[in-house]
Symmetry: C2
Subunit: 363 residues, 2 copies
């Protein structure tokens, strides 16, 4: 019997309601495997700021240090609400980025996946989607502009200015590129390297390091694509991509564009992996405060993040596959939630919790 | 009789062939108006590097200083070819960015425009496009990461590192926001402010300045959208956007995504405006070396850039309108070029030059 301690950080907005559905799935997995999940909830995000005075309270910090894996819901509030929290304590700067740094989860895997049978979710034409979309974006998650030094001040002319640093060293770059290459090896042996070397020196170093290590992966073909060209190509012909590797900010933007071409960020689970098995899992969408508490958010991204945890943290590859298949079956049977359906599409609407129940049934 | 000196920088790849078509259009405008265009060609880009030893030769620098307007083709080579030029002399760093700085064209206007009748060009479903796409992205063009200090070196541990600065001061921010607000006033009175204030301090200052000047445009509603959320939304529902304002790098990526939702970067002309009438005009796509010289590139983006010049630099608003309409008529008559057509779409294929001729006929 394996025992795992899992930190459950439900987060803000729709976080708690989709987390519930993920937990249902974990219970099923637990029942039928030689495994015990010790689920420990802890406060995190804007709600934690208001209830505990910190968006990443100490008890939560201690918990994530101990846990075998962390599952995290989306965090954040509306633009207006955010202003009630001092800038540096807002949940992104005060909780999410510190979590990433603390666990040093430098590798963020974001599948952009839509089987042909779900093509109707996508805003793209069926002929553009072809046989489906099956991309994994590998995003560097603890470097770049996100973590570089930042300075705000007033200059000699009395003008306010701001400076922030995009920083990388060769080890950080090599670490994420190795992840990209290894993943490419396990898939189609093609790696799309996304960069902006015609402007950014960080991309110049990035590409230098890539050339140095590419020899270790001689079975992988590297295709260089400028980040702007990639943004065009993701709309025009997503099928050309398989594994895409990129720095932090590019990954933020392109992966959300990925959610766009799928039809919803609600279809975007993700895994954030560090060294020595440190990892956390999160939907890559926001907390959608506008629809929170209404049971209309689809829990796919959260349940999918749990599936990634089963695979990456606990090596339960078959059960992970089963979870994906179960979700697929629910969609295939014509069900979805309101956030993922268009009026008149003939989809049978389920509440968040009912969608979770159906997934459990199919498991 | 007004006389204008126009610098013609044809650039690389497909640049020269689409420039020819733009020039045809200018000749027509010249014939039927009290205006004389003095078109002066000058070397610029990678081709200039190989022929003149510099991608922005001195004669070209002198010319752009004198000219009443500059029209510039795309520049750049394939990833492999670029490597034959030292990094700092590559045409982006050695020519394009210095051109922007020299003319201080801080405001880049990029229409993302697709009338309903051209919806078939788009990878998006007809119901996503609805009544058409009609966005103008206003991109800050002479600040941010593009022009901040850059440093590459070896650190104490003997590791190569790179640091580059994202810099803005309040005046730069205010200047571009004013452009956004004014444009919004002349259109639907809605301004989408694209930022990443949950991570970037530059966005925090950006939004502060926005709040300070918003009072001067009390008829404009500001909608705040995170850059990643905007990337999702541009795919899911582009019709929600009208004027979008953003910093340099965000504008680079989102405007190319704009080309993606239209169906081609070939549909993306642009205007780069500075103070005191300084301006240059350019297609926002690359030089497409793979299809250069084959007469299959559509000259729309170049002719459209000329139309923007007629409007913004020479105040020939009606003739600008006529040029857009003429291009529209050619498409409406069922014609296009190979780069802008899908096999089997029933479109009558024209070569680049024939497309230009048809536009001239409709004028
Ligand atoms: C919430 C925000 C800080 C975060 C990011 O920018 O990384 C989110 O957009 C994401 O992509 O995980
Ligand atoms: C060629 C390149 C330097 C340029 C940019 O990044 O600004 C281009 O992509 C653009 O958008 O005009």
């Amino acid at each position: 019997m394996s025992k795992y301690k899992i930190a459950i950080l439900a987060g803000d907005g729709i976080g708690p309601e989709i987390m519930q559905e993920g937990i249902k799935v974990l219970k099923v997995i637990e029942q039928r495997n030689e495994v015990e999940f010790d689920l420990i909830e802890a406060p995190f995000g804007a709600s934690a700021y208001f209830s505990h005075g910190s968006s990443f309270p100490e008890e939560t910090q201690r918990l994530v240090d101990l846990a075998d894996a962390v599952v995290k819901g989306p965090i954040g509030l509306s633009h207006q609400e955010s202003k009630k929290i001092p800038v540096d304590q807002q949940p992104e700067r005060g909780a999410l980025l510190p979590l990433r740094k603390r666990l040093n989860t430098y590798a963020n895997f974001r599948p952009v996946y839509l089987p042909k049978s779900l093509a109707h979710f996508s805003p793209l034409k069926a002929e553009v989607i072809g046989e489906g979309i099956d991309i994994i974006m590998v995003r560097e998650l603890v470097g770049g502009l996100y973590f570089g030094a930042k300075e705000m001040g007033v200059n000699d002319q009395g003008k306010r200015y701001v400076r922030e640093m995009l920083e990388y060293d060769e080890d950080q770059i090599a670490a994420i590129l190795h992840e990209g290459f290894k993943l490419a090896q396990s898939r189609k042996k093609v790696l799309h390297n996304i960069h902006k070397s015609n402007v950014l020196k960080s991309s110049v170093l990035w590409n230098e390091v890539l050339e140095e290590i590419a020899g270790q992966y001689s079975d992988v073909t590297v295709i260089h694509t400028l980040v702007d060209a990639a943004a065009t190509a993701l709309c025009l012909n997503p099928g050309q991509f398989d594994v895409m590797v990129m720095e932090n900010m590019f990954g933020d933007i392109l992966s959300d564009q990925g959610g766009g071409i799928l039809g919803s960020l609600g279809l975007m689970p993700s895994a954030c992996l560090g060294e020595n098995g440190k990892a956390y899992y999160e939907p890559s969408h926001g907390s959608a405060p506008d629809i929170a508490g209404q049971q209309i958010a689809n829990p796919y991204s959260m349940i999918g993040s749990m599936a990634m945890m089963l695979e990456y943290s606990f090596n339960m590859v078959d059960e992970a596959r089963n979870v994906w298949d179960a979700m697929q079956s629910v969609f295939d049977a014509g069900y979805s939630t309101a956030d993922l359906s268009k009026p008149g599409s003939g989809i049978k609407l389920l509440k968040t919790a009912d969608f979770g129940d159906k997934v459990v049934q199919h498991l």
